[in-house]
């Protein structure tokens, strides 16, 4: 749960999400490309695990993953554009 782990997990989410952003556009115009489809499946798995772990330890990236306990935490900062998270 240390800071390093948080940074590493977040970097993993950023990297895998970007691969999927780029692959999504490629697959829109190459929907049957087997190599791209295999890559998608592989990266999706890694991303899902990283998001699950990050959300559990450090809070949600997606609003659908907000864990409602005694208060609403989604709108607690810092926000991404502040460059602090």
């Amino acid at each position: 749960m240390d800071g390093m782990n948080r940074d590493k997990l977040f970097a993993c989410i950023m990297a895998t999400s970007f691969v999927m952003d780029d692959l999504r556009l490629f697959l829109d115009t190459h929907p049957k490309d087997q190599e791209a489809l295999d890559y998608w499946r592989k990266v999706e798995r890694v991303r899902n695990e990283a998001v699950k772990e990050y959300t559990k330890c450090y809070g949600p990236i997606s609003m659908y993953d907000v864990d409602v306990d005694d208060r609403w935490t989604w709108a607690e900062g810092p926000w991404p554009w502040e460059g602090r998270c």
Binding site: F10, I13, M14, S17, F18, D21, D22, R24, L25, F26, D28, T29, H30, P31, P60, I61, S62, M63, Y64, W79, P80, W81, E82, G83
Partner: protein, 202 residues
Amino acid sequence: MWTYEKRLQYPVKITQCNPKLAQVIMSQFGGPDGELAASQRYLSQRYTMSNPKVAGLLTDIGTEEMAHMEMVCAIVHQLTRDLTPQQIVEGGFEKYYVDHTLGLWPQSAGGIPFTATFFQSKGDPITDLIEDMAAEQKARTTYDNILRLVHDQEVCEPIKFLREREIIHFQRFGEALRMIQDDLDCKNFYAFNPSMDKECKK
């Protein structure tokens, strides 16, 4: 619909303010070849895109452009936050500041407000895709122009990322145009508007 993810597409962490640079980079928020125009261009055009795969591509690229708009705004915000009145005057930022303080407002570097006339939605798939390819190149040139003025590595890296995405989008739009043309009579691609004239499919 859309949902928000609490992260940028590529990190923006700028520690040195620079109001002069902010004023230039602002153009990629609300200027003629900026990310706001790009997102609204693609997301408006998709309704009359005859090929469903290309309509999907317009949705996905339009969505990515919104994430790019957020990155550009983050850059401008981080370059201008905590400015003192003295830095505002020395950095030539006073004309923007007087109307918007340090808030984000979509305008070009020259102060021209964002307008829907920056983009077209023509309702003809070939026409729209050729506009989109040109738009990606214009945005790429704008980022090249910005990069010649940037010496701060913290600003340079996200701008370089955005520039590269323009090239990818251009490539995908080129493929989309070919997909549209593959459904048409190659002797005259321009005889029909594939979103209006149903008899055009070969």
